[in-house]
């Protein structure tokens, strides 16, 4: 799930334990200051991310400057929409650009919408209530990171397909920071 706060985007993703791969980083860079979070079919999502990475490079050379987050999201959306019958992946695109600061875009099935925050994946259903209640505009970086970590932890607690470690990437005008929080370091909540 991804949140916007004043000036940047914080995104976190939950690691899924599968038979094939127990440690998969589902935060994929599309550009220096633009990342996307993968959910759904891993193969589909990774392929889309790689294609968009390439297309964004070409676009940014053509334009002569760093691409906007909206451009990256549009490229993802174009692929998602064109192949919406064949693909089953949802990519959340988030990043920072000079024009509009931190932004988050959801691109499910070919829809493109900018949101203050976005959640996705199988574990997201369980935390819709929590994020609705706890998100507020104008959070600073630490509050937002804590919010993301809490949300991930709650979802991992309930969703059988989510677990392991939490990857968090924080993007703002100063740069990009990647963080891994191990399972036993995540916050704990009421457990009966």
């Amino acid at each position: 799930n991804v949140k916007e706060f004043c000036g940047s985007a914080v995104r976190g993703i939950i690691n899924v334990e599968t038979v094939v791969n127990r440690v998969m980083n589902k935060l994929s860079p599309l550009h220096d200051k633009i990342y996307c979070a993968l959910s759904g079919s891993a193969a589909d999502a990774q392929t889309i991310a790689e294609i968009v990475n390439y297309q964004l490079d070409v676009h940014s050379i053509e334009v002569g400057e760093d691409p906007q987050v909206r451009s990256a999201a549009t490229l993802v959306r174009n692929i998602s929409y064109k192949y919406r019958e064949e693909l089953s992946a949802h990519l959340i695109v988030a990043g920072w650009d000079r024009r509009n600061g931190g932004q988050v875009f959801a691109t499910m099935k070919g829809l493109l919408t900018r949101q203050p925050f976005a959640v996705g994946g199988s574990g997201s259903s369980y935390v819709y209530g929590f994020v609705d209640a706890e998100y507020c505009r104008g959070m600073n970086k630490q509050e937002c990171q804590q919010f993301v970590v809490n949300t991930l932890s709650l979802a991992m607690n309930r969703d059988g397909s989510s677990g392991g470690v939490a990857y968090i990437v924080t993007i703002d005008e100063h740069g990009t920071e990647e963080k891994v929080i191990l399972g036993n370091q995540l916050p704990t909540f009421f457990d009966q």
Binding site: E85, Y126, Y128, A133, E134, L154, R158, Q192
Partner: protein, 217 residues
């Protein structure tokens, strides 16, 4: 070409409902939404009451097929009052829950109904029991059910604290129901809440426009 479902958000089959019960210091709060829908397309009732009194200090919330649930509760009420006459004392909460469980388990092939039972009795104070679709009976401190409950698991895990005060618990329950109704299309209407303590029973109805508003995208 087969469509893959990426979101596995449906746990079991429940028709539109959000129900909740939580223990606080000295009592228990049980509550639900008030929408009855057919097939997720048509709201057949906006103000149905899903919190049913089965005895003086014992209430039930129904989830699943409302027709099945109403039939089961009607039968359970009768069994319970008969049992209470035999024992010459008010029934324990676990007795009410067990009666429901028996009915659900023995008829599990025909029925599609689950229940939350909450109440107060002299022996064990405030209690909450869950009878699931197949007839499992467990005791919990806070529990949620119905299709809308998937969206508030995270909220309930984060915000429920044992031994809250009555006001805190009421606020917690109202918030949780409001959040679920905000996300689940087959839950909605008003929030019916019942507070059960040793002293008595108090009904609280929060109409839709008085429900707490949260950040809305």
């Amino acid at each position: 070409m087969e469509k893959h479902c990426t979101d596995s958000r449906v746990k079991g089959v429940s028709t539109g409902t959000t129900i909740l019960a939580a223990i606080f210091d000295g009592g228990v709060v049980i509550g639900s939404d008030s929408r009855a829908s057919m097939g997720g397309e048509y709201v057949s009732s906006k103000t149905i009451n899903k919190v049913i009194q089965v005895h003086d200090r014992i209430f039930c919330c129904m989830a699943g097929s409302l027709a099945d649930a109403q039939a089961v509760i009607k039968s359970a009420k009768f069994h319970l009052s008969f049992h209470s006459v035999q024992m010459e004392s008010p029934p324990q909460v676990i007795a009410a829950a067990s009666v429901l469980k028996d009915l659900c388990y023995k008829n599990k092939d025909e029925l599609q109904a689950g229940f939350l039972t909450a109440g107060w009795d002299k022996k064990n104070g405030p209690q909450v029991y869950v009878v699931s679709l197949g007839g499992m009976l467990i005791s919990q401190q806070v529990t949620i059910g119905g299709s809308g409950s998937t969206y508030i698991y995270g909220y309930v895990d984060a915000k429920y604290k044992p031994n809250m005060t009555k006001e805190e618990c009421l606020q917690f329950a109202t918030n949780a129901l409001a959040l679920a109704m905000g996300r689940d299309n087959v839950s909605g209407g008003v929030a019916h809440l019942v507070v059960i303590t040793e002293k008595g029973v108090e009904h609280v109805v929060v109409p839709g426009d008085k429900l707490p508003k949260f950040h809305d995208e």
